[in-house]
Amino acid sequence: MDLAFSPEDERFREQARDWLATNVPRDPRPQEGPEMREFDSAWQRRQFDGGWAGVSWPTEHGGLGLSTVRQLIWHEEYARAGAPYIGSLFSAVNYGGPALTIEGTPEQQAAHLPRILRGEEVWSQGFSEPEAGSDLAGLRTRGVVDGDELVVTGQKIWSSYAQIADFHFCLVRTDPERPRHKGLTWVLIDLRSPGITVRPIKTMARDLHFCEVFYDEARVPLGNVVGGLHNGWKVAMSTLTLERGTAFMADQVSFERTVDALVVEAASRPGPRGTGRALDDAGVARQLADLKTVAGALRSLSYRSISTLERTGAPGPEGSMMRLYLGEANQRLGRAAMDVLGVEGLAFVAHWRKGWSGHWLRHFASTIGAGTAEIQRNVVGERVLGLPR
């Protein structure tokens, strides 16, 4: 047992830190529209040119093929350097692309992976539907094989960044006769195809990155099916495992910085009765100490998960809880921040660097997205603890 990294890992950390120190963009990341895409792409291109794109991607697909320990180091240094949120490239770089490295054909890989790594291709996920949220296998969007094409009709929802994306990777029902999980297909759809309408959905946090995507007999080449017809459930599960795994490690590191910022905020403002510091309010202090500790515990859990992965080839069961644990902590953080600011903190402020209300509102989604809290607790209860369904 040892917390220390190997000298080689430490050298990698230094190199990453050095490169990030001089290359992280200092301009604020635009929050919407083509400017956002342009910013995200340019930053990805810069990482690619610097030899840092695809830390965890296999080398045969242009990645660095590094160990999970080095991914961890990269994420830690990335966050420490204040590098931009990956934003619109999240789906392609962090899990859609990696899924293609596992499930795609050589042709599919050649067509997309280099472009993704260079920041030239934006993907969006199309799994959820209005009538199939938590119950993913209940989805209804149809894909009918017609010659060498799939004709897709239906509606997807909660597709992040679809309004600026090039491709939509969807799960569609290609065989309604088979059992629910067995008639689905995973397919990559060019969003510029005829018959597709994208409508952004404004959230209660007032941002526009979720979209509805409507399909009206859109025609997709069968060559875009990944993992084979009717085999989509398996592909989707491996995609989701990636989404729920290391892909959000950066979020954990940034959570700790957000907690630190709130402690500083509470130390510099008066308490709820106008006296002392907010941080001297024992209730506030207890909440903030709890959040700071949770931030540390998430790091400790990551270390444990990575150690297990390194030793056994599979991550430990911690992974199934970390996203929920972080999401609920972010919700508590939001509420604590609103209490610290009191009546002076009621202005809507989108970005946490200028205020807290946006953080508070945004994290109402943290126990819904990527599996509701209820589903995630079911998963822990059933798959980890072995309780009956």
Binding site: G133, S134, G138, I157, P270, G342, L346, E374
Partner: protein, 356 residues
């Protein structure tokens, strides 16, 4: 002893709901949030015609002569409807002007031609006396306001509204906010010993919060009973069912305590002496119910509940704003604890509480 609504109150509730649904309900709140509409003088005039701004004032002074319980019935509906517009500031401003003898303001406020906005003192940074209002205040919807209402446990005043054009959107998308310095003399003054306007206003804000909690409970129950996942209505799952039960429990407790506190205040303290503790207690239950139910209604609705189009965000934002008025949660804690007798009941009684 009877704490249930009587026929008159039920009728007031029904009328209020009808008007609000048509003119000042969630649809209008969404329109205001989207910038497609404003609550203008005409709309305030309509509410004034219904007598809302003088509901709890004597008929001899231009009011409707109803009691606090009728005002509460209306504000519960306002909370259910997440009505846009400065309804609570208007009602309190009219009361201050009428009972404080500021006749010219009184007429304008009762008729809805003069517009009031809320100004909440920033704790520790503001001073409010009958002579002077100074320091930092958070105002809400100040842009078109003529007067600001400032209410403390000791005194309630109206002051001329300063330039509010720098106001920004708040977490309630129908309400703007501005934190700024004031240094001004009141236009109207109503000391607490003349009228408990602070406690009345506190209970009206609690009523709006209770109404919101009632509505979000209904929304959650309705969705849980119809939305299906894995082949069953999601309300069959205990995680959802128990969440709905908790929403209902919180709301029932808050509403019952609100009515009790209002009846006690209406009796002038004859039944219960500790009016501030009761009223702040009722507000704290109402605020918690509205805020926790706001979280729960989103969770029950899933991603749909997180959208701008859904009513949940309106309820969440409104609850967060309202619960910060009247001193916020810290004032509730202080007032409630101030009501506890300092003698130890263990030394003054023999056996109570030795439950098994």
């Amino acid at each position: 002893m009877d704490v249930l609504a009587d026929a008159d109150q039920a009728e007031i509730t029904a009328l209020a709901r009808e008007f609000l649904t048509e003119r000042l309900g969630p649809d209008q709140a969404h329109a205001v949030a989207d910038g497609r509409a404003v609550v203008d003088a005409a709309l305030l005039g309509r509410a004034a015609e219904l007598g809302w701004f003088g509901l709890g004032l004597p008929e001899s002074r231009g009011g409707a002569g109803y009691g606090l319980l009728e005002e509460i019935a209306v504000f519960r509906e306002i909370g259910r409807a997440v009505s846009p517009g400065p309804l609570l500031p208007m009602v309190l401003a009219a009361r201050i002007a009428v009972l404080g003898g500021a006749d010219s303001q009184a007429e304008g406020l009762l008729s809805g031609t003069l517009r009031a906005a809320w100004a909440e003192p920033v704790p520790g940074a503001a001073t409010v006396t009958a002579e002077r209002v100074s320091g930092r205040f958070a105002s809400f919807d100040p842009e078109r306001a003529d007067v600001l209402v400032v209410v403390t446990p000791e005194v309630a005043v109206l002051v001329p509204a300063p330039d509010g054009s720098a106001a920004v959107p708040s977490v309630d998308p129908t309400i703007s906010t501005l934190v700024a310095e004031l240094e001004v003399a009141p236009l109207a003054v109503l000391p607490a010993d003349a009228d408990p306007v602070y406690l009345r206003g506190l209970l009206l804000s609690a009523a709006a919060l209770v109404g919101s909690a009632q509505r979000t409970t209904e929304m959650a129950v309705e969705h849980a009973g119809t939305r299906e996942a894995f082949g069953r209505p999601i309300g069959t799952y205990q995680a959802i069912k128990h969440r709905c039960a908790d929403m209902w429990m919180r709301t029932q407790a808050a509403d019952a305590h609100l009515v009790y506190a209002a009846l006690a205040l209406d009796s002038g303290g004859k039944v219960e002496a500790d009016l501030p503790g009761l009223a702040h207690g009722a507000r704290s239950l109402a605020a918690e119910a509205a805020a926790r139910n706001g979280e729960a209604v989103v969770q029950v609705h899933g991603a749909m509940g997180y959208t701008w189009e859904h009513d949940s965000g309106l309820h969440i934002g409104r609850a967060e704003v309202l619960r910060r008025w009247f001193g916020g949660p810290a004032a509730d804690v202080d007032a409630v604890l101030a009501s506890v007798p300092l003698s130890d009941p263990r030394t003054t009684i023999s056996q109570a509480g030795e439950t098994p």
